[in-house]
């Protein structure tokens, strides 16, 4: 499974959405992505990519796309692999 697939699956599993819906997801744009859902998402991301997100990044991770940017820029996740 590629890193992008892993990342997309985290959103599918966290929020019960379809894979084709994940790219447009934003914090509090869907009911499941509230603050509690956010912590569950973060926990899964950390587990899947074996990283520990800094609190500032947890706060900044407010969309699917932003999350990709943070993971790529700061945590060395290569989404081309």
């Amino acid at each position: 499974m590629t890193n992008l697939e892993k990342y997309m699956n985290v959103f599918v599993n966290s929020f019960g959405v379809k894979i084709e819906e994940v790219k447009t997801l934003k914090y509090q744009n869907i009911k499941a992505w509230d603050s509690v859902g956010h912590m569950g998402l973060v926990a899964k991301i950390e587990e899947v990519f074996d990283i520990m997100l800094e609190t500032e990044d947890i706060i900044d991770l407010n969309s699917f796309e932003k999350g990709k940017e943070i993971l790529s820029d700061k945590y060395g996740v290569d989404f081309s692999k």
Binding site: M39, A43, E46, E47, M52, T55
Partner: protein, 245 residues
């Protein structure tokens, strides 16, 4: 009481922390034993206790005020792929000065070690407890946070912040199977007392029903209980272990 449990304990090289190390080991816990600096004496202590009680004790060295070191240490622990069942936030410092003579540096230092380090270490460790949906956090506060004594305004405030934080996280994390409790020890026979006047020590002893100081092991036994499943319905509490003050 703690057989099969894995615990992180901070400040285990002396005082209450050293007693925690032995008490948790005696009860069967495997321990990641934190100390700020590596010494041959501490290495020997962990090895001797490991052999004596047949448990795994791994020394972990980092400065609690260095969050990069802290994060790296927790990551190293997590890579062992073991449950982290308990976190005992014991390490702390105690300075003293009358309120009007308490410098900004002293206040910052007390809060940095006694509160901020606990806050952020607990944040890191609870990431793993949340995955497990289980865990027990035990924070060592102080009777001084509840009663206040002259010359300890910064210390008492930093320890009181622990109590408030503990209560809050017990509410936030309870539904995820994580408990958080504080212990507020009274006067304990450790070298922290060097900063407490003889008069204050005597006053504290006399104000307690038991009219004496605690030994570190008496605090450690309560921490072991709170870490164990024997206290499975206790959370959000501050247990005063102060001889009846």
């Amino acid at each position: 009481m703690l057989k099969g449990k894995n615990a992180i304990i901070t400040g285990t090289n002396r005082g209450i922390g050293k007693a925690l190390l032995e008490e948790f080991a005696a009860n069967g816990a495997n321990i990641w034993a934190h100390s700020r600096k590596e010494t041959s004496e501490f290495n020997k202590l962990t090895q001797d206790l490991s052999v004596k009680y047949g448990v795994k004790i791994t020394p972990v060295y980092f400065d609690l005020t260095d969050y990069n070191e802290m994060k790296n240490a927790v990551m190293r622990i997590s890579k062992e792929k073991q449950h982290i069942d308990c976190l005992v936030n014991n390490a702390g410092i105690m300075d003293g000065a009358l309120f009007s003579m308490t410098s900004q540096d002293m206040v910052r230092k007390e809060f940095e070690v006694n509160f901020f380090s606990v806050f952020f270490l607990t944040q890191y460790v609870t990431k793993f407890m949340l995955r497990q949906q289980s865990g027990s956090i035990v924070n060592i506060s102080s009777y001084i946070a509840l009663k206040g004594i002259e010359g300890k305004s910064a210390y008492s405030a930093s320890k009181a912040a622990l109590i408030a934080m503990t209560k809050t996280i017990s509410n936030e994390l309870g539904s995820k199977g994580i408990r958080a409790n504080c212990i507020a020890p009274g006067i304990v026979n450790t070298d922290l007392l060097k900063d407490v006047s003889e008069a204050e020590i005597a006053k504290a002893k006399n104000s307690s029903a038991l009219k004496r100081m605690a030994q570190p092991v008496e605090i450690a036994k309560v921490a072991a209980y709170l870490a164990s499943d024997n206290s499975s319905f206790i959370t959000g509490q501050t247990i005063s272990v102060d001889g009846g003050m």
